[in-house]
Assembly symmetry: C2
Homo-oligomer: 109 residues x 2
DNA sequence: CGTGTAAGGAATTCTGACACG
DNA sequence: CGTGTAAGGAATTCTGACACG
């Protein structure tokens, strides 16, 4: 569940131009949101940004927040909270698996 | 199930350079396999090819076949058969859903 | 048949900066 | 603060073709 680095959704394979088409944002805006630490594209050999479908989703949420007048540092905080929530959920999940394993053997999850 | 045009796997968003990295094939090879009708990338506004994750998978299968010495027109035929098989499977699936619906109401699949 | 390569052009992407505000 | 833009350079992508075989 935590090793999603290789799921289709998380793989960084989309160039900024296509992300721009997909989100309706300008490349300038996308680069700026990276500068503000809202998204974290990988870099290609020659330094080109590569985004995932997940990044595209995040960008659309960002676009909504921006339209609502929320500032980037606020969005940054909100996202940090949300991410933390997921992490805690994963921790609980892991603990639960451990208990189940202890009781019934490997649950193969 | 048949409206997969918009699933992550089918969306054409990857440029040829990244497909090259992902598959280990040269851009020349990828373009050639398109010429031989083995893959069907979409085109960006200015004519750049855009591939899906599904295309990447197909290309890896093609790479294997080529290594085995299978010629492109043979691969083309094999793929036509496989595609037809999937279609028939989908037809059966649709018919089955119809029957279930008639018996028990909408199965919400 | 399948793939490499040089050719020439068009479009992309990158960074740092100035502008407005 | 968020975004547009012109600047200059580097890397990408495209097509049609010649080469080898």
């Amino acid at each position: 569940m935590e090793e999603d680095k290789h799921s289709l959704k998380e793989r960084k394979v989309i160039t900024i131009g296509i992300v721009s088409e997909l989100t309706g944002l300008t490349v300038r805006q996308i680069r700026y949101y990276e500068e503000r630490k809202l998204i974290f594209p990988e870099r290609s050999n020659q330094g080109s940004r590569k985004f995932s479908f997940s990044d595209v989703e995040t960008l659309m949420e960002i676009a909504n927040k921006i339209e609502e007048g929320v500032q980037t540092h606020e969005i940054r905080r909100e996202m940090a909270k949300k991410k933390k929530g997921v992490t805690e959920k994963e921790v609980r999940n892991r603990m639960l698996k451990g208990q189940i394993r202890a009781q019934f053997g490997d649950p193969k999850m």
